[in-house]
């Protein structure tokens, strides 16, 4: 069966520090991968999605970037965090192919920037 892991679960970082959040998927090949930010009362905002290694689509201009160095690894990064980067970050995957399918979500990372 497929599983998705995210770490860390919680993170407190000072403004201006770098960020690296990691997401890995097991039990599937060539999944579509997604990073979302969930804000209270504002739903899920799609940040990045990837249909393959090295293929990243960015949905909104922001202080963050994403990379997919391996088939089942998706990394969310920032060189210098802003206060506004605080939030709950979710990674998700869906089966390969057209983006028609349901998505499976990880446990999320709670990021607090101070």
């Amino acid at each position: 069966s497929q599983t998705i892991h995210q770490w860390p679960a919680t993170l407190v970082q000072p403004v201006g520090s770098p960020l690296s959040l990691e997401c890995t998927v097991e039990g599937t090949s060539n999944p579509n991968l997604y990073w979302y930010r969930q804000a209270a009362g504002r739903g899920l905002q799609l940040l990045f999605y990837s249909v393959g290694i090295g293929q990243i689509s960015s949905e909104v201009p922001q202080n963050l970037s994403a990379s997919r160095p391996q088939d089942r690894q998706f990394i969310l990064s920032s060189k210098k965090l802003l206060l506004s980067d605080s939030g709950f970050y979710l990674c998700a995957w869906s089966p390969p192919g057209p983006n028609y399918n349901e998505q499976f979500f990880g446990p999320g990372t709670r990021l607090t920037v101070l």
């Binding site: 009362g41 739903g43 999605y49 979710l90 983006n99 028609y100 349901e102 998505q103």
Partner: protein, 112 residues
């Protein structure tokens, strides 16, 4: 541009009451529609989905949703809610343009 609108931000019901959560979308082409649920302390998970065929779809735990194309709606219903249905509910849209869009979510509180 595609969008999803959930009209109710917070719904409070007593056990055994009927539930209907509204979801409207905006997109001119073919869509796949989903309802996800996030129970307290748990992962976001799929409740039900519509791809094609019968516009009335049934999901887990007695939930159902009806796709009305003319109204661009995909409302979620349950005839009798339970305390364990307390959760946050998200309507979502996938299109053949390769994008996923979620609504802002509806928090359901069921009083025992």
């Amino acid at each position: 541009a595609q969008s999803v609108s959930q009209h109710n931000h917070h719904v409070i019901l007593s056990e055994a009451a009927s539930l209907e959560l509204g979801c409207n979308y905006s997109y001119g082409g073919t869509v796949n529609l989903f309802w996800y649920v996030q129970y307290p302390g748990q992962h976001l998970q799929l409740l039900l989905k519509y791809f094609s065929g019968d516009p009335l779809v049934k999901g887990i735990k007695g939930f159902e949703a009806e796709f009305i194309k003319s109204k661009f709606s995909f409302n979620l219903r349950k005839p009798s809610v339970q305390w364990s249905d307390t959760a946050e509910y998200f309507c979502a849209l996938n299109t053949n343009a390769g994008k996923s869009t979620f609504g802002d979510g509806t928090t359901l509180t069921v009083k025992p």
